[in-house]
Amino acid sequence: MIRRLHNDGQRMKIDDSQLWSGLIGLALGAIVVWQGYEHDIGVVTEPGTGFVLFYVGWFMVLLSAVMLLIAIREGGAPIASLWEGVRWSRPMIAIVLLIAFALVFERLGFLLSTMALLIGLMRLIDPVPWPRALPIAVLAPLGSWFVIQKMLKVALPAGMLGIG
């Protein structure tokens, strides 16, 4: 566990957001440097495919080192505090619903999957009363389907049930 002293005398915590920003940045920078190296850096008279990646990666490493330095000297907010005072469960539900939607989108088809998504979003996050949620969840995908598929002739998936 990292236990350095900040300028104000407090101990650095392992859940320091600035520290993790620097560490993740450092890892990303290292990956980019490695990828640049793997893709042939070339020479300065004839730069290769990995030339820009390699040097941008090193710049990312440098910037991450600065972030780490700031974390050691000044510290940052604890990670948990970044979600303090907000209803973090709502975006989590939205993310889960969106991932589930992407997984079934082609299998269920555009109409069924978007209707299910809209009902989920309107009922599970900040509940909209059923009498309002249902017509919106049905009419919005139907209207969009009509405009996109029928008028603009852009094919949307009909799914295994062939609806739409």
Binding site: T49, V52, M60, L117, L121, M122, D126, S144, V154, L156
Partner: protein, 500 residues
């Protein structure tokens, strides 16, 4: 051919019924996204990019441009009536515009915002029409070294103007460059960062990336907060400003137009910086600075003029150099490329009908906005009453449709979701998406020109500093990079920081 004859040709293009329709749709949708908080011009343009593919390049670009300058008009409505900026360039309009509304002067505030926008927007179009062809001729002398330095300056400037840590903004710009390089290397035709995954060979699409960062990411951020809107409920009347309002506003409008246009043309500039700078200037020049924040009409007229002039000015670097100065223009660059056009010094010479057609459509669009906006205020107010728990599922639905329709590939929906979650998480850690988007678009251009410059110069790095324009740009970029070490400049940066 002289400018007037070319403009006549442009009006011929812009007045074609289909282009008029696209122009109308563009400004109407622009106003709508300007009015609605949580969806800005970038996501709207990304959403509608696939829709433009069916038409001619002129129609597509006319509509995309209309969304941008239309959103500048619409943004002020929400700022004045709800005290929530519809988009970033209207943040400062909240200060005095909403104060005027609370004092029963919502009508004159909305009216002045519309007139100032119209005057400055028209001024910017005249300047664009007169200056762009001259600058394009001048830009023909630019080589790869100048392009690299200009792009470096643009990216540095944007990171300087982004709120929060400049180190983090620079890091995001690097991430954007790296993501922009995913796919096939255009010089050596080698796969890069594809990890043998076939959908990545063509690179990441701008539409799913932008929709994820600005559409899904914004929605995720908003859902965790209880969005409460207090709309000024008193009847809005007297939209025409009084003689005294005009007496106080003409000079701020003139100054805002000039300042906004100039700032709009700079790399990294645009409507947001212009509106903040105009507000600061008007407050400093005013004989009644204490009235600012309490409902001074100058605080509405100046910034609204500046953001519209800035929006017009931002077309200059894109049209003449092919370098987008901000995220919105980056998306417009994407639209040009999708339609098989390459903005740059030869765009105007090779496609005068297209350039002057866009300019003429902007004249027409500005008149449409003025005529449409004031009578439609009631509809915008009603739209603002749509609760967010109904609005955000619909925003998500439209982003999904837009992304899928652009490629007919479900992989792009996954890309959008990834960048949506990414934007939500990085924002918590104090990182901004804006520098990443600009760098994502500029990345391939930057790499291409850098490699060309090095090959041409035989590997001489001094080519970037010995060529005057390139050297000056790099010097400016260096000064900007070192600016956080100077306390007075750091304070100025905080004043004009984007994404307030």
């Amino acid at each position: 051919m002289d400018t007037l004859a070319l403009l006549g040709q442009g009006f011929g293009v812009a007045l074609a019924p289909v282009n008029l329709l696209y122009c109308f749709l563009g400004v109407l949708i622009g106003t709508l996204v300007g009015v609605l908080p949580g969806i800005g011009p970038v996501s709207a343009m990304a959403l509608l990019l696939p829709v433009t593919l069916g038409g001619t390049p002129e129609s597509g670009i006319i509509m995309m441009a209309g969304i941008y300058y239309g959103s500048m008009y619409g943004g002020s409505t929400t700022s004045i009536l709800v005290n929530i900026p519809g988009e970033a360039a209207s943040v400062v309009t909240c200060l005095d515009g909403h104060a005027m509304a609370k004092r029963g002067r919502a009508g004159p505030a909305l009216g002045m915002a519309a007139f100032a926008s119209f005057i400055a927007g028209t001024f910017a179009i005249v300047m664009l029409m007169l200056l762009a062809p001259q600058l394009a001729d001048y830009a023909l002398a630019f080589g790869p070294a100048e392009y690299v330095s200009l792009m470096v300056l643009g990216l540095t400037m944007l990171t300087f103007l982004t709120q929060g840590s400049m180190v983090k903004a620079l890091f995001m710009a690097c991430v954007g460059i790296v993501l922009g390089l995913v796919g096939l290397d255009t010089i050596n035709a080698q796969h890069r960062l594809t990890f043998e995954f076939a959908p990545l060979v063509d690179g990441l699409g701008i539409v799913p990336v932008v929709m994820g960062l600005f559409g899904v990411g914004e929605v995720l951020n908003n859902t965790e907060q209880a969005v409460r809107r207090q709309i000024v409920s008193a009847k809005i009347s007297g939209l025409l400003p009084s003689r005294d309002d005009w007496r106080r506003s003409w000079a701020p409008i003139a100054r805002g137009s000039l300042l906004g246009f100039f700032l709009g043309t700079l790399p990294g500039g645009g409507a947001v910086v212009a509106s903040f700078s105009s507000y600061a200037m008007e407050k400093r020049l005013s004989r009644r600075p204490e009235e600012f924040g309490q409902g001074a009409i100058e605080g509405v007229a100046g910034p609204e003029a500046a953001n519209n002039a800035g929006a017009g000015g931002a077309f200059i670097p894109l049209m003449t150099l092919g370098i987008p100065p901000n995220a919105v223009m980056a998306l417009l660059l994407g639209a040009f490329i999708i339609h098989g056009l390459q903005p740059g010094p030869l765009l105007i010479a090779n496609n005068p009908g297209l350039f002057f057609g866009i300019v003429a459509s902007m004249y027409i669009g500005n008149v449409m906005l003025l005529v449409l906006n004031l009578p439609l205020i009631g509809i915008w107010v009603r739209l603002l009453k749509v609760p967010y728990n109904v609005l955000f599922p619909l925003i998500l639905l439209f982003t999904i449709i837009g992304v899928y329709a652009s490629s007919n590939n479900v992989f792009d929906i996954y890309v959008m979701l990834f960048f949506g979650v990414f934007a939500y998480v990085i924002r918590k850690f104090g990182f901004e998406s804006t520098p990443m988007v600009l760098a994502f678009v500029l990345g391939p251009l930057l790499e291409n020109n850098l490699r060309k410059a090095l090959i041409i110069s035989g590997g001489e790095l001094s080519t970037f500093v010995m060529r005057p324009i390139s050297g000056v740009c790099l010097l400016l970029a260096l000064l900007i990079l070192l600016s956080p070490l100077m306390p007075s400049l750091r304070r100025k940066r905080e004043l004009v920081a984007l994404d307030n």
